[in-house]
Point group: C2
Chain length 316, copies 2
């Protein structure tokens, strides 16, 4: 993703400036988050979508910052729920400052993102944003309630990641496009491109949870499973007649040992689960590409193709 | 506050309808909050402030619901921090559903309140709202960082309650007034009335923490102190030459027994602390009344006088 380095630097600077507070702990927590890496995929997608229309740089850097700050807020609150210790290879806010401070770091980020949205979005844009945030919250609660449920289906999973990830990807391309004057067909294809890419992105993330190099992903293998969040590879295993019984037995106990995690990971790798998951991820990527084909050729579209290439081969 | 019962019923109904979700746990948590009582002072103040201008009922009930939902969101997140078990005499969300769910119940309430704000506020209104929310977040973090600090001064305290309570009171009268077309002098006096009333309200709340009847307040005597939050009566004690040393000795240890709490409560009651706190609260109330005098006579102003009367004698 080196192609977007300049934009990323500009974005990080803007976010830092915008979030400055008289509370040192906030500044530290937010610097941690901003310097902690991250691909900035959502802001990049706003930026590219906007380039299809009447591009207003000032407005777009603010909207892009808003989306990333909103995303960071959800990460901070997520880590509270998951008791996550590492995020992008760094200590999480909840682990460093405690759950209590983390609640308000998340709220502060939300407030700061809404300032940018209020200043730059149309009414319709604000409404789409609010609807998305509401659905994300409901999704988080659903995910929490589905924890350790080994009857979860592929359909449940797809519904969950749609709210957890894809909607914010879709919102990014939608807002970039809509606020730059795009309507009808162009808006439709950009929005749906975002949604489908988001689905494939989350599936890839969940695959990397099993196949990834811990050094690269900054995440322990099987971390989600250990927290009771069963993602596509595990769900495929649970649907596989050859492994189902054994997997149920292990997952039924709930409180996993390192050994349990290793055993399930081994089964996931031996079975067809990774392949099936990969195929499903590719299906969403194909749909995303279909939407690209309906967009006018040129640099913005090339940028989106670049993201597709990167997504299909990324290792972190 | 029976005077406003009709409005309160209408408001509760609107909030319930607006917050309905497909997630049962959300519905339960939010019903708990709405049925859990509460004076609805902020919505009432929006409503009255709006009656000084071009009153639009539909808009005002939505804004009033927005402010109350925002307030509830801060309560839910507050209870996580304070590990509060009871609020208004009822079990808190964090205690009933766990901290994890409570984080997202708060986020959901925030999202639902922002939907109402986006639909009904002018740009200027939205900006005032966002600024207030940011300051409230900073205030919460400040309060958390000041915990167990027995060097806290009256000035720190006043700064803290301004952000914790008064700003949202001020925002309520401001939004009611501004969005009903009021400007200049009227807007100024209504806004400042809200701020000053908010200050006196919080001081009274903190007094009731010591003098109140647990049955009526639904709160254990000395609950804030037990959590390391030193409010005005304790701070007055810490500044009182006759008690300072003894109070320091007790507060220095940090982890209080029931006996410590009782001893400090006793000292607070014996000393001049409650009187001093009361006088300070009355000073803010007097300032609030001063702003009332600059408003046109009539039912809306009578309503505000009614709130002043109620506030100066309330026991819960």
């Amino acid at each position: 993703m080196t192609r977007f380095n300049d934009f990323r630097i500009e974005l990080n600077n803007y976010m830092k400036k915008h979030c400055e507070s008289r509370r040192d702990i906030l500044n530290t927590a937010i610097s941690d988050l901003i310097n902690g890496g991250g691909k900035r995929l959502r802001p990049i997608m706003i930026n590219i979508a906007a380039s299809f229309g009447n591009y207003n740089k000032d407005k777009i850097i603010q909207l892009a910052s808003g989306i990333e700050l909103l995303h960071m807020a959800t990460l901070v609150h997520d880590d509270i729920i998951d008791e996550g210790k590492l995020r992008r290879g760094r200590e999480t806010a909840q682990h460093r400052f405690g759950k209590n401070i983390a609640v308000f770091v998340g709220d502060y980020l939300l407030a700061k993102s809404y300032i940018l949205f209020s200043n730059n979005l149309s009414r319709k844009g604000l409404n789409s944003l609010n609807k998305t945030v509401r659905l994300i919250c409901e999704g988080e609660i659903a995910q929490f309630q589905e924890k350790y449920n080994y009857h979860v289906t592929v359909r449940d999973y797809l519904k969950r990641i749609r709210r957890k990830t894809a909607l914010l990807f879709g919102l990014s391309t939608y807002l970039g496009a809509y606020e730059s004057g795009l309507r009808d067909n162009l808006l439709h294809h950009l929005y749906n491109f975002g949604l489908e890419l988001g689905m494939s992105f989350q599936i890839q993330d969940d695959l990397l949870d099993f196949t990834g190099d811990e050094e690269k992903t900054g995440k322990k293998v099987g971390q989600d499973m250990a927290a009771g969040i069963y993602t596509l590879p595990v769900i495929c295993l649970l649907e596989d007649g050859n492994y189902q019984k054994k997997a149920w037995q292990l997952l039924r106990q709930g409180d996993f040992t390192e050994g349990d995690i290793k055993q399930i990971t081994k089964m996931v790798k031996e079975s067809d689960s990774l392949n099936r998951s990969k195929t499903m991820g590719e299906r969403f990527l194909t749909r995303a590409i279909k939407h690209l084909k309906s967009l006018p050729a040129g640099k913005p579209r090339d940028d989106l193709y670049y993201i597709i290439d990167w997504q299909s081969s990324r290792e972190k």
